[in-house]
Subunit: 409 residues, 2 copies
């Protein structure tokens, strides 16, 4: 069988997270891999009652084809209840629903990027976005972050030095994987840069509403006067990912193009889920539900950070995120987090090695930990086990270090 | 605002059907446009009960992320109950779920087609597929059909004369838009050609199970010994489109690539819909539901055909499909179905002008009629009105003919 795939397929590799998820599905593994919300917090009975009502009362509509843009009452809820509190002024003509924000990411590259064009992103960045973008054969320029997010001077320099920058990708809140939040001042400057250079900024904000400390910051889109900022939102982390409901917020001239792409891609989002989500949110307060998530996730974050302080070797660095689902661990530069993962799996604990989060590669001494999906007991036990695995690499036992350091991908 | 979209966007135009659907949403319009199933036949209460049970009993799973391939029990049902009766031998490792078969179409072009490559399709062909493929900047070669489907000699000639044919697209059962069914012999020959020339055949079969006359034919995939035939199925026409559940059946080496594309595109299909569909089909017989659809649709088809015979000018040609949702009308060569549509809309009746179903353009004297979505009274009334609109163009009143003939898109 002599198969002849398109050129773009040579860029599309299996996502390390997805492949790992399979390994870590065994119930005895304490998994800090993945980015799954806590399933015990889904309001499943409430959704069950609403689902039945929807199907009995408006089933003929909810099971039929609908418009590509999506169900208007749900888009109205997004405008009023999700975007307005982030400082984004828009109306339903600016909103199209997508299958989670992942689909918005894929569409963005399809819309803006020709082969060989440059996409600028944070270093590191969300590997699901990197993989989606790669299908359009771009070059990536990675911009360093400090504690306030992407360094804007470095960003502007990259724009000036490359005449084919077609898209700037950012996750301003509790970034995946680093946990870093972009400061208010930099959000303003990023929106201004988008306008000045007429380059679209794709603002991906799946975790923005899951903030545990300090005040919520407005979205980058809130400072967008030019129309060049495109905001991607989702209910995956604040409601349930299985419904696959995300959205794009964009200037109508841009949104029109997203709608055309969506028509070709899959016609529309799941009608039933759209109606269930809207009816649920008309009946119950999603803000209250999010408040209950924050309570649990904040506790889990605190516990993970405290446990890392207790059980990790002192030399290991990690971020303390103000919200979201992840902390990012930096090992000594000669260590390979992927090789160490094999030891971790022997101890029945899992994380995501950080290499794939750097689109241009070359960094191996990082890993990402998720704290939303494991209960408190497992968080302490898992970090304790991970601590003893790491201890071997920090105890001056050279034989262990070499094992990890020489291992190549 | 100086917007700079990717080159592929110049190929992506608004679908005529989708835009028309908006016009035809007014309840006073009798619409034979669109391809919507009859919403009054959705088993909405049964689905409502199942949905509630799923959310109460297994909601934590049904609302969470799942695998990209899809929910294994649903894939098993597809293998045993949908593919086996079509003569296709496969197991769940050959099945990936998609958001309707539309997504399978888009993925197929992404997987196989580079810019400038040739896609061969029937003439005319499904405009949603044509639009999805166009994003990958192919050339199209259209192959004529007779009453037995695509003419295989013409197909083989096109393959021989072009060294960059990357995909053959066919809708063998009750083709959209023509209503034509490919004969058994041609199915075998098409599978053999795919093997001989090592070119993937994308077999799109959304209506195959909605047969009103004669015996069901095996899928082209049933004769596939080489692995080059890829079958796309869907529950959109046999269950409900709003759940967005379709599937790809392919050799595992090919399916692995579809899975990678799906990961980047939107991670996975809606988990809740997958579980609801599986539990519904474990509890109730989908075959029985399909039998009840066939009863209604057969009656509507008969009524539409009879009404056309009664009310259309005798010179107008149309197909009598053995199943599916559409009949295809051919007007006198100098007439423009798009211009006549304006007259039809004044009479509150709508169809889809046929021009967009020819990827290389140039044909204006066709239109497509759907008979699944209107009740019997409306079918008779709508065809009657359409008949009087057409009468004006066939009554030797030259002034009318000229109006329609000179109108350009």
């Amino acid at each position: 069988m002599n198969l002849n795939f398109s050129d773009r397929m040579s860029n599309i590799k299996a996502s390390e997270i997805r492949e790992l998820l399979k390994l870590t599905e065994q119930p005895e593994i304490i998994s800090f891999a993945g980015g799954l919300p806590a399933p015990e917090l889904f309001p499943k009975e409430k959704i069950g009652e609403v689902a039945k009502e929807v199907l009995f009362n408006e089933g003929a509509f909810a099971l039929q084809y609908t418009t590509t843009e999506g169900f208007a009452p749900l888009r109205k809820i997004i405008v009023e209840e999700r975007m307005a509190p982030s400082g984004v002024k828009c109306d339903i003509s600016n909103i199209m629903l997508t299958n989670g924000s992942q689909q918005g990411l894929e569409f963005s590259a399809k819309l803006f990027v020709n082969k060989g064009d440059v996409i600028i992103c944070e270093s590191p960045s969300y590997l699901g976005a990197i993989n989606a973008f790669k299908a359009y054969e771009p070059k990536f320029i990675e911009i360093s972050m400090d504690k306030d997010g992407m360094i804007i001077e470095e960003l502007e320099k990259a724009i000036k030095e490359n005449d084919n920058v077609k898209m700037i990708y950012t996750i301003p809140d509790f970034q995946n994987p680093s946990g870093i939040t972009m400061s208010l001042e930099r959000r303003k400057r990023l929106a201004a840069l988008a306008a000045k250079y007429e380059i679209p900024v794709i603002e991906d904000s799946p975790y923005g509403e899951l903030r545990y400390d300090n005040e919520k910051l407005p979205a980058v889109k809130a400072f967008d006067e030019s129309g060049f900022v495109i905001n991607l939102g989702t209910f995956s982390k604040t409601f349930c990912p299985g419904l696959r409901l995300g959205w794009v917020v964009a200037d109508t001239k841009i949104l029109q193009k997203y709608i055309l792409i969506k028509q070709g891609a899959d016609l529309q989002c799941n009608t039933l889920s759209q109606v269930i989500a809207a009816r649920y949110m008309e009946k119950y307060s999603l803000d209250e539900h999010i408040a209950s998530l924050i309570k649990v996730y904040k506790k889990r974050r605190d516990l993970m950070i405290d446990s890392m302080k207790t059980y990790f070797p002192k030399e290991v660095k990690f971020t303390i995120p103000e919200g979201g689902l992840f902390t990012w661990v930096e090992l000594r530069e000669d260590l390979d987090a992927k090789a160490i993962m094999e030891d971790a799996l022997k101890e029945k604990v899992a994380y995501v090695p950080g290499g794939s989060f750097f689109p241009n590669g070359g960094k191996k001494n990082f890993f990402r930990l998720n704290y939303s999906n494991m209960n408190e007991e497992k968080i302490v036990e898992g970090i304790k086990r991970l601590g003893s695995v790491l201890d071997k690499y920090y105890c001056n036992c050279n034989s262990f270090e070499e094992t990890a350091a020489v291992k190549e991908d």
